[in-house]
């Protein structure tokens, strides 16, 4: 996966109204902006939702992305977080093959990475792992030899760093 340092996180606060996600994603499609990941969730204020997305600043003109987003009437606030100024996390759920033969080795890996076991049976283990996006990529590589059965990631969310 790409170098995380060229990825900027943009955190938008939008009005919690029908169709707002379509407006945002339609804008990206229309203007030819590529999005790396996108996460949508309610905020502590029910009038607003938060859409967090990452763009590769080498592929998208970040200033235009932000300015065009700002023109959407339902977008209330935009925070632009360069990698050095934010704390970001992404969550991964993954089911890995774990027969008796490889189970021990896998459990050790899980411990080392401080992932959580969510469920297991004799053939498989389901894990959750949350970290920076780049760490998720690395962990995924470590799991791959065991056999990834199913995997889902949330896309990253971020907050400004504390100074």
């Amino acid at each position: 996966m790409s170098d995380p340092d060229t990825f900027h996180t943009i955190v938008t606060t939008v009005e919690n109204k029908p169709g707002v996600l379509a407006r945002v994603s339609g804008l990206f499609a229309r203007r030819g902006f590529n999005i790396e990941s996108l996460a949508v969730a309610p905020t502590d204020d029910e009038r607003f939702s938060r859409i967090t997305f990452t763009v590769d600043v080498e592929s998208a003109p970040l200033e235009q992305v932000v300015k065009q987003l700002n023109k959407l009437i339902n977008v209330v606030e935009i925070q632009e977080l360069p990698p050095e100024d934010c704390v970001s996390r992404e969550l991964m759920l993954v089911t890995v093959a774990a027969d008796a033969h490889h189970r021990r080795e896998l459990m050790e890996l899980i411990d080392d990475w401080r992932a959580y076991v969510l469920a297991e049976n004799t053939e498989r283990i389901m894990l959750s792992f949350s970290a920076r996006t780049a760490r998720l990529d690395e962990f995924e590589e470590c799991l791959r030899p065991f056999g990834i059965v199913e995997l889902q990631r949330t896309g990253r969310v971020a907050l400004p760093a504390l100074d």
Binding site: V14, E15, P18, G19, A22, R23, G26, R30, R47, E63, Q64, K67, Q68, N70, K71, L72, I73, N74, V75, V76, E77
Partner: protein
């Protein structure tokens, strides 16, 4: 009157439009919007019944251009809503304030593929500044207020309000509401607050950069007209004595007959306007957006120029061309502040010596005027000649609208625009068929002004049916139909860039019979074939004020628009009229 009145959503909608100051709207009824058409009978609003919803949209645009007030459209759901997509997109690209009300199937039926259902807000999301789907009758007054507010403030644009039938239909309990006069506080637009005042520090820096420039050009666009800044611009330009180019959207924003006016730049701009920009060391862009039709090939555009860019829309600053100073703000306010700032640093006296620049420019003007070859006896009329005669036989405050094609370029080149809001055309989208409905809208908004629609034969056939609207509604516009039997502009490209292989551009000289067609639509029809008939026909048309007039000018199909920057080429490669091609530049 009781202000806490109980009423139905349909009545509330009409009342809200009245409250917004709407005097005229353009539309056509149908199933989903029927309940709103009933209260219109009792309303003070004049409704113009169109023959095609696209016409309603362009009429609203023409009205908005001419008056500065938002144009209002009302149509039904489904096919009517899709018919207004073109004018919405046109208004979006040319930043025209417009509010469009569309009927929708009842709220509960949305998403079921009901009869005449279409996802209007989904379809129009990309071609409106904003749109609303109203779900409760009680929300109607505040939504209408918000729609007008968004359409007319900041960078103006079209706003669509989609109204499900059940919330306006008196037989449906969901339409019951309590009337209130919506205020700004009711609008609830936490994400919308356009900035109009420019940053004083940037304005001061701009003033200094302007004073020092050796070869500056004021590059002004449609934003001057939107912000009603023509007077402020004149004051600034005269103080600093800097030449002005007016883009296709800004013709008339600065008087063509003024010494400082260089006319239109761009693909079919005149040599001096194009070349002055190319050789400039400072472009002061006011409400323009560096459209590709102005810049030509971007790499080669004004290579030595620094850029000061003023626009109400911050997304325009640096979008196409990197700026040295970008000022977000309303053009009029920024120009006024800039004029003050320039005066503070010495005004006219503090300007760099630009006598060399001035003489270079007047040299170009002398050497490369707009020219065409007059037709010989017996030859077909030259369209340029027709435009000159139209110009010379009409008062300078005549409103001119145009379609899209060669005739549009001739109109922009050969008319002398000395007043703002006298030129109305489709710049950004280039919508054929714009001129007749736009002229109708302009005439409705400015009934005391003479309105000429300059149209092409191709364009005419796209929206001519609105002349029926004009006849029946008593809107006496005049149409100068430039019949060259071709989709002329496309023919020109095929001649110049496709080895004269003419593919699907010939229409017909005789068919339709435009005079008969015009008469059938309730207009006076006049055909003109030779130069000596031109002025008398215009005079005759100008005497008729009780119905629309169509003057068909049979013009030379071989005539091409020059100068021209071939698509994809740099503006330095401007192709001038064949008679000027040997001249040293």
């Amino acid at each position: 009157m009781n202000n806490k009145q109980q009423m139905c959503g349909g009545e509330a909608l009409v009342k809200a439009l009245e409250s917004a100051g709407v005097e005229v709207m353009f539309g056509l009824p149908g199933g989903a919007i029927l309940p709103v058409y009933d209260p219109i009978i009792d309303s003070s609003i004049r409704h113009i019944l169109v023959r095609h919803e696209q016409g309603a949209g362009h009429m609203a645009e023409g009205y908005a251009h001419a008056t500065g007030r938002p144009g209002v459209v009302m149509v039904t759901s489904g096919p009517a809503a899709t018919n207004v997509v073109t004018p919405l997109c046109d208004a979006f690209l040319d930043s025209i304030p417009m509010v469009c009300i569309t009927g929708q199937v009842p709220y509960a039926a949305i998403g079921t593929d009901a009869f005449q259902e279409c996802d209007t807000t989904g379809i129009t999301m990309a071609v409106t500044k904003h749109n609303f789907l109203v779900t409760e009758a009680q929300d109607i007054p505040r939504t209408i207020r918000a729609a007008f507010h968004i359409a007319t403030t900041g960078r103006p644009g079209p706003v669509l309000v989609d109204i499900p039938k059940d919330i306006v239909d008196p037989v449906n309990p969901r339409s019951a509401m309590t009337w209130y006069e919506a205020t700004d506080a009711d609008m609830d637009l936490p994400g919308y607050s356009p900035i109009t005042q420019g940053d004083p520090e940037l304005i001061r820096a701009a003033a200094e950069m302007i004073s020092e420039a050796q070869r500056p050009v004021l590059y002004v666009g449609g934003g001057i007209l939107k912000s009603r800044a023509a007077e402020a611009l004149l004051e600034l330009a005269e103080m600093v004595q800097i030449p002005v180019v007016t883009t296709l959207m800004a013709r008339g924003a600065f008087p063509d007959s003024h010494d400082l006016c260089l006319g239109m730049p761009g693909m079919h701009g005149n040599f001096t306007a194009v070349t002055a920009m190319q050789r400039s060391d400072l472009l002061i862009s006011l409400g323009a957006r560096f459209d590709d039709r102005v810049t030509g090939k971007l790499d080669g555009f004004a290579p030595d120029a620094k850029i000061i860019h003023v626009d109400i829309d911050p997304a325009e600053l640096g979008k196409v061309r990197q700026v040295d100073i970008g000022i977000q703000g309303d053009c009029r306010l920024v120009i006024e502040d800039l004029t003050v700032a320039m005066r503070e640093i010495g005004g006219t006296e503090a300007q760099a010596d630009r006598s060399a620049w001035r003489s270079t420019i007047s040299g170009w003007q002398e050497k490369f005027p707009l020219v065409y070859e007059q037709s010989e006896l017996g030859e077909r009329l030259k369209p340029q000649y027709v435009l000159e005669e139209l110009r010379d036989n009409n008062p300078p405050d005549t409103i001119v609208t145009s379609g899209v094609g060669q005739h549009q370029m001739y109109a922009s080149q050969y008319w002398r625009f000395d007043h703002p809001y006298t030129w109305i055309n489709s710049g950004g989208l280039g919508t054929m068929g714009f001129s007749i409905p736009a002229a109708i809208g302009a005439k409705v908004g400015k009934p005391d002004r003479r309105v000429w629609a300059v149209d092409g034969d191709g364009c005419f056939q796209m929206t001519a049916q609105e002349l029926v609207t004009a006849s029946v509604e008593n809107i006496p516009i005049k149409v100068a139909l430039m019949n060259n039997s071709y989709l002329g502009m496309v023919r020109q490209w095929q001649e110049m860039f496709y080895d004269e292989r003419f593919s699907e551009v010939y229409l017909s000289e005789q068919t339709p019979d435009y005079v008969k067609w015009s008469e059938a639509m309730g207009c006076v029809g006049i055909r003109v074939e030779s130069p000596e008939e031109v002025a008398p026909a215009i005079a005759k048309a100008n005497e008729i004020n009780d119905r629309p007039v169509v003057v068909e000018f049979r013009t030379d199909p071989r005539e091409n628009v020059f100068p021209m920057v071939p698509a994809g080429k740099s503006n330095s490669e401007l192709v001038v009229d064949p008679s000027q091609q040997g001249l040293e530049r």
